[in-house]
């Protein structure tokens, strides 16, 4: 178990280093950092001084190590466009994005799993066929289009839900939450559904195909042959085995939900990291882009690690195999 965790940890660190290298290359070689920081009126001498100050004249490997050292302390430099520390900017926006992502993921799971189970158990019912058709259409609709359609229906025509912003937020220390006010919750509905819909169809299809697979296995047949009640076979034996791979994939999807939030945040003008990142891409604000890349990579790696460790607790087979290595 310990060896398993250590091995996974080493792998995670390697991935982080590779991503850090990419972020560093972007930071250092896409455009000239000095040009981005100063105005046209700055003299050549001042530029050279700044260059020396920033350590841009040091050997590249030294700069890379320094970059990693700073990144580990959440020091990503100063945004070109906002002239503020990147860490501060991201810190302000992080709660909005995380709240949106977790609510979207919860929505995807809570709706997606029952739909998947239903379509697997009642393969031929018209409702199953309806769900599957809807899911195919859902996969084909780009996220931003879903957002626009939802805004068109619920904000423009019915006028029952807000189409932009977070509503009223409450500050809990440095964390600002929209989950505690009515307007905050109302503002969350459309963005969360937009962001979660694609994942929901994915989870539904995954649960369905996994469950169909499990229902075909010998141990399910043997459970039926022992006269175990249908309910216990379907929701005990079959569902438990279905959820093992579903946990992994859903966990991994959480990372892409956070990344996909870029689009949803743009549609709903949601004041999160995604919107910040998009503005950075539009204005080639490299420090923010690099920091966002590192942050997303870190979240991905951390989620991966947690999922792997969770997996070990859910599946007894791995507990033993992991201990053996």
């Amino acid at each position: 178990m310990l060896a398993f965790t250590i091995r996974r940890l080493v792998q995670s660190i390697v991935v982080m280093l590779v991503v850090a290298l990419i972020a560093f290359v972007m930071f250092r070689f896409v455009g000239d950092p000095v040009d981005q920081m100063v105005g046209l009126e700055t003299t050549l001498e001042e530029r050279a001084q700044l260059r020396e100050q920033l350590g841009l004249n040091d050997p590249v490997p030294v700069q890379f190590v320094r970059f990693i050292g700073k990144a580990a302390q959440f020091n990503f430099g100063t945004s070109y466009q906002f002239k503020r520390p990147v860490a501060e900017l991201i810190g302000d926006r992080l709660p909005a994005t995380l709240e949106l992502s977790f609510v979207a993921a919860a929505f995807a799971l809570i709706v997606g799993i029952p739909m998947g189970v239903y379509t697997a158990l009642r393969r031929d019912s018209w409702l199953s066929k309806f769900f599957l058709t809807v899911s195919l259409v859902g996969v084909s609709l780009p996220t931003f289009l879903i957002g626009i359609i939802l805004i068109f229906i619920f904000a423009v025509n019915l006028q029952i839900l807000p189409s932009f912003g977070r509503g009223a937020v409450v500050d809990l220390g440095w964390w600002s939450t929209g989950l505690l006010t009515a307007s905050g919750l109302k503002a969350l509905i459309l963005p969360a559904v937009t962001l979660g819909l694609f994942q929901m169809t994915l989870i539904m299809r995954l649960v369905r195909s996994e469950m169909l697979e499990v229902l075909r296995t010998d141990f399910i047949k043997f459970a039926r042959a022992r006269g175990i009640k249908n309910r216990a076979v379907n929701f005990g034996h079959a569902l438990k085995n279905t959820l093992v791979p579903v946990i992994t994939i859903t966990g991994l999807q959480l990372g892409s939900i956070i990344a996909f939030a870029i689009i949803t945040e743009t549609v709903f003008q949601w004041p999160g990291m995604g919107l910040l990142f998009l503005q950075a891409v539009q204005n080639v604000d490299i420090p923010i882009m690099a920091a966002y890349l590192l942050l997303i990579a870190f979240l991905f790696v951390a989620i991966n690690l947690v999922v792997d460790i969770l997996y070990v607790f859910v599946d007894p087979r791995i507990r033993i195999a992991g201990a053996a290595t």
Binding site: V15, V30, F144, I149, F152, V284, I296
Partner: protein, 325 residues
């Protein structure tokens, strides 16, 4: 492992006379299992027809579009914000209405699909070329080359393609420094999408290559001293094309979505030569003032195109994979 030759998957075709082999390629194609499964699926036929229609109208847009949306001389602000023909105030001159500059929405959609399809198609070609080459090399050469290529693929796969595309897009524009923004947009977009989608091809091709590599005919080719590049191109490549075709079709839908998303986010095709995504972005501003047609019609056009291509991809995957039937 399913290897698909021109004659289809071969399973379940017992009783077909072997001696009278159909002469032409067309006859052989019509005789195949794939054609049989195509004929049996009405949904697929419709999807194929719709896709063909899109390609045709994209190709012939200048001849079939009622107006030329990029011809500024023909635009008149008097025609701006006309609703669709069947709504009061609409005229049959502009069947689907006009935007704020007096551009005909139907014509804009026809020209826009042209650009969306072009970006999708070219970036799929780029991704396929990159992925196939790297996959062949990776699988055939093996060893360190293989592990380096596959590690890069692993790291890249951790991130959603849209994020990669955004980063590449931002970096490239940072390097170009804003010169020729409008002319370079197409190529930047193609490069961003192409570079973010190569991994699946590489993985598919690599795994097929590993299987083919050890077959007698490749061993024989190697024994007679053929150059590895020739062996790969002539002997290995044709055998991996089936799975690649499936990946390419599904990726075409993804690439179109990605293009639309990037354009919607404002980092893709500029409004002077709008793609479907750009049109939706432009129209989005008018959603609240009641001019819904400017964004909804391009949205529907995009959704139908992606759905049709997705359905084709799904069918192709099942048809080339007899195990799933």
């Amino acid at each position: 492992m399913s290897h698909v030759t021109g004659e289809g998957a071969g399973a379940g075709t017992a009783g077909r006379p072997q001696d009278e082999a159909p002469s032409s390629l067309l006859a052989r194609a019509l005789d195949s299992d794939i054609w049989y499964s195509f004929k049996r699926s009405k949904v697929t036929i419709v999807a194929a027809a719709v896709t063909a229609l899109y390609f045709a109208s994209a190709l012939f847009a200048p001849w079939i579009a009622p107006h030329n949306p990029s011809d500024l001389a023909s635009l008149s602000l008097l025609d701006s914000l006309n609703p669709p023909a069947w709504i009061e105030g609409g005229t049959t001159t502009f069947v689907l209405g006009t935007d704020d500059q007096g551009r005909d929405v139907l014509s804009a959609i026809l020209y826009g699909s042209r650009i969306s399809l072009a970006v999708g198609f070219v970036s799929v070609l780029l991704a396929a070329f990159l992925g196939i080459t790297l996959g062949l090399v990776s699988g055939y050469v093996g060893g360190r080359t293989d592990s380096i290529i596959m590690r890069i693929a692993d790291v890249q796969l951790t991130f959603p393609a849209i994020l990669i595309a955004l980063l590449i897009d931002g970096s490239v524009r940072g390097v170009l420094g804003g010169i020729n923004r409008e002319e370079s947009a197409f190529y930047v977009l193609v490069a961003s999408i192409g570079l973010s989608f190569w991994v699946q091809y590489a993985r598919t091709v690599r795994s097929s290559t590993l299987v083919e590599k050890n077959k007698e005919y490749v061993q024989a080719a190697r024994l007679i001293g053929l150059h590895p590049a020739i062996i790969m191109a002539r002997h290995v490549l044709p055998n991996v094309m089936g799975p690649v075709l499936v990946v390419a079709t599904i990726n075409l839908a993804l690439a179109i979505i990605t293009e639309a998303t990037l354009s919607f986010l404002g980092v893709g095709i500029p409004p002077t030569q709008p793609s479907l995504g750009t049109l939706i972005r432009i129209g989005n501003d008018f959603l609240f003032s009641g001019e819904w047609w400017i964004t909804i019609f391009p949205g529907i056009a995009l959704a139908i195109l992606v759905l049709a291509v997705n359905l084709l991809g799904d069918w192709l995957r099942d048809a080339l994979n007899p195990k799933l039937r």
